[in-house]
Structures are given as structure tokens and as C-alpha cells.
């Protein structure tokens, strides 16, 4: 909470200095966020920006636990999606994930930390460079980014670091991957705990071809979890790397989801 107070004024001064030319090209923010132009200027290079309700950003009615706020982005109504950036305007670390679904559906779900009431948005970039943006306000009581993760408090984070759980559910054409890693996802905003987070996730198929990849930031929740839908059948290799260069990887085979669904 104190964090926001120290960070927002500097951001606001940047906002004042933002180039008027770009601000003129931006559509007015339907959410009325004080940080819209600031983030838009930094993120939306390479094409025009439109608010587009074909991008679905699904949030709960309330951020019950602001350390673990689920966000689902479904842009399957759009063709030619090459990037999905999920960000929260008023978070000290605004961007949570930057997803590139190469051979995957433009659909992603994860959990993020929120420090206060903020817009949460998805910005979807198409192959023509244009950005399609949607989102909504969500309330949070504070402390999601500026409080230490629970495993730091318990002290057991290192015992399980990188443990991966997950499964794959295939319908014959596409495969839903649900997976997560044990990781503290330290933001660097808590005293005496430097930033330490998973920074990339890559999905490859059995032939080693990259199917999807994602940059991951410290505003993703502790023990980060992801749902992706790849346009392939068969086993997928998921590999994550953190900011100290540690790699965590595992194979998700469609048999795993079948087993779970049938209760075996």
C-alpha cells in the first residue's frame, strides 16, 4: 500500500510528460484509469489501438484473496492473434504475462497479485500489428504485491522449489494444458527479499517445435499456474526458467487428463 504511494507519483509525472501525439491517437479509456495513457504509450508499439469486446477478460466478482486473483483471457473470436499481454494498471509491476500462442489458441488463464483496486486488462496484438484491448476494474484490499509470499513466511519455499504439477486434456484436435510450479515469485518489493520469479514458460511438441511461449513477471501469483490450449494432440513438454537461471520442466500427456476425468 505504501508502495503504491511511492511509485504512482513518479508514474504520474511520466504521464504528464507523455508525448501528446500518441495520446491523441489513443481511444479514450472506457475504464477511466489514471494510468491508461502511460501504459498504452509503453506497451502498444507497432499498430493502432482499439477497445474490442471480442476480447473476453474474465475476472471474479471480487478479489477474495488479492495474492491469488484468477484472470482468464479468451480472444478466440479474433483471427491472427500473435500476442496477449495481461496487465493491471495500478500494480507496481503492471504486466503479468506476455503470451505468444504460436500453434495454440488465443486463450490463457493464470493468477495474479493485486496491490489495490485496479483495472485488469488484456491487450491482444494481431498479425497486422493492431492492438485489441479489453478489461475491467477489480477491487482488492491491498498487500498483494507488497506482502511477502506465504511460503516465505512459512520458510519452506526452497523445499519444494520448481515442483511441477499438471495434466493435459485432449479432444482430439486441441489439447488443454493446466500446469503450475512451486515458486515464491518474489516481487522485489518486500524488504530484504530480492526479486526472484519465473520469467519464461515454453511449450514444445514431441518433435521439439515451439507451440507457445510466455514471458512471466513478478506480479503473477506465488506458485504460478497456467491454462493454455494448444492446437495439437499428443504429449507436450513444458519448460520454465526463473531469474536465477534454474529450469523446471515436465511432460504433459493427454493420458493424464483422461485418467483424472475418469476418476482413476
Amino acid at each position: 500500500m505504501r508502495l503504491i504511494k511511492t511509485i504512482l507519483p513518479s508514474a504520474a509525472s511520466v504521464l504528464l510528460a507523455a508525448s501528446p501525439a500518441l495520446a491523441e491517437g489513443l481511444p479514450a479509456d472506457p475504464l477511466g484509469s489514471p494510468m491508461w495513457e502511460y501504459h498504452a504509450e509503453k506497451l502498444f508499439t507497432g499498430g493502432p489501438v482499439v477497445f474490442d469486446n471480442r476480447v473476453k477478460v474474465i475476472l471474479p466478482v471480487i478479489a477474495e484473496d488479492q495474492h491469488v486473483v484468477p484472470v482468464t483471457v479468451d480472444a478466440r473470436k479474433l483471427d491472427g492473434v500473435k500476442r496477449i499481454v495481461v496487465f493491471a494498471d495500478l500494480n507496481p509491476i503492471p504486466v503479468a504475462i506476455d503470451y505468444r500462442p504460436m500453434d495454440a489458441a488465443p486463450f490463457v488463464a493464470t493468477r495474479i497479485k493485486l496491490d489495490q483496486r485496479t483495472p485488469v486488462r488484456a491487450a491482444v496484438q494481431l498479425e497486422d500489428g493492431s492492438w485489441h484491448v479489453a478489461g475491467d476494474w477489480i477491487d482488492a484490499a491491498g498487500g498483494g504485491c507488497s506482502a511477502p509470499p506465504l511460503s516465505r513466511v512459512r520458510g519452506d519455499w526452497a523445499d519444494h522449489l520448481g515442483e511441477m504439477r499438471g495434466a493435459a486434456w485432449s479432444d482430439g484436435n486441441s489439447t488443454r494444458l493446466r500446469f503450475g510450479f512451486r515458486h515464491p515469485m518474489d516481487t522485489g518489493l518486500v524488504e530484504n527479499i530480492p526479486a526472484y520469479n519465473i520469467e519464461t514458460v515454453r511449450v514444445t511438441d514431441a518433435e521439439g517445435r515451439e507451440v507457445a511461449s510466455m514471458d512471466v513477471y513478478g506480479s503473477v501469483a506465488e506458485d504460478p499456474a497456467f491454462t493454455l490450449v494448444v492446437d495439437r494432440d499428443g504429449p507436450m513438454e513444458v519448460a520454465a526458467r526463473d531469474t536465477s537461471g534454474l529450469e523446471f520442466a515436465g511432460e504433459l500427456s493427454p493420458a493424464s487428463g483422461k485418467r483424472l476425468s475418469s476418476g482413476q
Partner: protein, 322 residues
């Protein structure tokens, strides 16, 4: 960039607590609270119920969402769950003394949640009793609750502090001013849930173990424990049930309804995890038609997803990799 202990505690407290359902929209503009005007309805001989709003905690209702019970005895008045704030507790005290004509001599707090417990400051701390588990819970979470309630309820909370119950309730029979009461030390909605039976009238005060036509809240719940507590309550002969939230029940529907909701929730969440659903997808699950008349169902369902989903995934999804 120094974080005070208080700041860190507040954040963590909220994580564990997932406080009480704070309605998102009403946070900013309101500063000036109104006045509480609780109404007592006599539901059995010498027992009055004060109904809370069947809503989330919000500025508009001043946090007065839980039911309060007033019991007359020969020696004075018993209050069960004095509500969310000091001024609500004071209003309850005045109401109780006006309907019974006798001063309040005992306050029972059924469990830690602030919509039930935070009115305790209106009474002498020595007469406030609860299960020892509840006192420990309030020691741990009280300040976090307080931060969250002040933020949402603003002036309604003026003067409210965390009051720890001084008396530890033990299970069994007790007599106060000629009233024979049975006290049940249960759990499941939280780590300590007190239920009270008034023997003369057969009135069972369920606390938040029993919800009625209002969806159960689960921030500290253990569903298996809750279901077995419901079995215990069902086995206690009674004529009336006063639930923690929702209308009085004289037809034996509130306990089965609470069990039905919790059982459905439990199997729905398990199935969602096992079929690879995300939290937001689980939160959008269709609510069965038999729960159509249950208030704030979608809201509590989504809160419950938040309370249980990460733990269920850690339990049910297989470990992969090395």
C-alpha cells in the same frame, strides 16, 4: 520502501482471511454512516432474533449481515453475536435491554468472523464468552479483519476495536438465570463454531454452521468437518433453528440445505479441477435450480473457488517432471 509489520500483517491477514465478502463497488465515496436500527422479533418464549441483511458486507448495510439472538433469563439478558461494529453492539445492547427489561449479563460469540464478533466492545469484556479456538482465531486475524472492515465500512466502524472474549466456553449444559442451555463446541465453518440449544423452547442457535436461503461463506471452512458438525446438530432434538444468516427455520430445512450446498460445492470443485478447468471457469459453473432462491449464491460460489481451488489443485493434479 520500508514495510511496517502492520502493513505486512494486513496483507497476510487478508490472504488467510479472505475477509467476509467485501462488496467492491461501494468503497470510495461514502464516508458518513447512518444509524443502525436493529429490530427484534420474538421467535420463542423469551427469545428474540435480530435479522441481518442477506447480503455481503457493504457500506450500505453497515456490515449488519449476521443474525443476533437475545435471550431473557431471570438474572439478566444473554446476547449471541453482537454484530459488526461498536455502534451496532451498542444498539443491540439497548434493544436487548428494552425488550427484556434486564441488563445484559452474558455475550456469546459463535465464531471469529467480524460480522458476528466485532460488536463485543459494547459490553464489559468479562461477560464476553467464546470457544478458546475463537479467541485464538481473533488474536491471529482480528487486526486484519479490522483493517478490511474499516476500509469498507468507514464511519460505521468508529471506535470499534478487536475485543478478545475473556471467558472460554466449554461444551455441555449450563444454567443462566433459570435458562437451561446446551453448548456445543463444533467446527467446520471455522476452527471453532459454538452452537447453543435453549432446552425449554427447543431453539437451536446454529451460528454460521447453519445458513438458510443465503449461500454459505467458506473463508475458514473445512467442508468435511462442517458436514459432520451438521450431523451433530441434526441429532440434537429441536423445534426451531436460528441460522447465522437468513430467516428462521421451523421446518427443518436450513440444516439439510446447508449440507446440500456444501456437498454440491465440494463435488463441483473436485470435478472442475479434475477436468482441467481454470478458477474463473469453475466460478462460472451453473448453479443447480434447487438453489435458485438462495441469496448471494454466485458471489459466495466465487469466493469459495478462491478459498479452495489452489489447495485442491495441489492435491489432485499429478506431479510431473523431475
Amino acid at each position: 520502501m520500508r514495510l511496517s509489520r502492520r502493513t505486512m500483517f494486513a496483507g497476510l491477514g487478508l490472504a488467510g482471511v479472505g475477509l467476509a465478502g467485501l462488496a467492491p463497488a461501494l468503497v470510495y465515496a461514502e464516508q458518513f454512516a447512518g444509524t443502525y436500527n436493529p429490530q427484534a422479533e420474538e421467535v420463542a418464549d423469551g427469545i428474540w432474533m435480530v435479522r441481518g441483511a442477506d447480503e455481503p458486507i457493504a457500506f450500505a448495510n453497515g456490515g449488519a449481515i449476521a443474525n443476533t439472538v437475545i435471550i431473557a433469563t431471570n438474572d439478566g439478558t444473554i446476547v449471541v453475536d453482537p454484530g459488526p461494529s461498536l455502534s451496532y453492539g451498542k444498539a443491540i445492547r439497548a434493544l436487548a435491554e428494552s425488550v427484556t427489561g434486564k441488563p445484559v449479563i452474558r455475550v456469546y460469540i459463535t465464531h471469529l468472523h467480524p460480522d458476528h464478533s466485532f460488536g463485543a466492545g459494547a459490553f464489559d469484556a468479562g461477560i464476553v464468552h467464546a470457544l478458546s479456538a475463537t479467541r485464538h482465531d481473533l488474536e491471529r486475524d482480528g487486526e486484519g479483519f479490522s483493517d478490511a472492515l474499516f476500509r469498507v465500512l468507514a464511519d460505521w466502524m468508529k471506535g470499534t476495536t478487536v475485543v478478545l472474549p475473556q471467558g472460554d466456553v466449554t461444551a455441555g449444559k449450563t444454567v443462566i438465570g433459570g435458562r437451561k442451555l446446551q453448548l456445543f463446541a463444533l467446527g467446520g465453518h471455522s476452527s471453532g463454531d459454538l452452537a447453543i440449544l435453549d432446552e425449554a423452547t427447543g431453539t437451536l442457535i446454529g451460528g454460521d454452521l447453519v445458513f438458510h436461503d443465503r449461500a454459505p461463506a467458506t473463508p475458514h471452512a473445512n467442508i468435511d468437518g462442517w458436514l459432520s458438525a451438521l450431523d451433530t446438530l441434526e441429532g440434537v432434538p429441536h423445534k426451531l433453528v436460528i441460522p447465522g444468516h437468513g430467516p428462521i427455520d421451523s421446518g427443518n430445512v436450513a440444516i439439510p440445505q446447508t449440507r446440500d450446498w456444501l456437498s454440491w460445492l465440494d463435488s463441483m470443485l473436485n470435478e472442475a479441477v479434475l477436468s482441467g478447468m481454470d478458477m474463473t471457469e469453475a466460478g462460472a459453473t451453473e448453479i443447480p435450480a434447487r438453489f435458485a432462491n438462495i441469496k448471494v449464491a454466485r458471489y459466495e460460489l466465487q469466493r469459495s473457488v478462491s478459498h479452495f481451488y489452489p489447495g485442491l489443485e495441489a492435491e489432485l493434479l499429478p506431479m510431473v517432471g523431475s
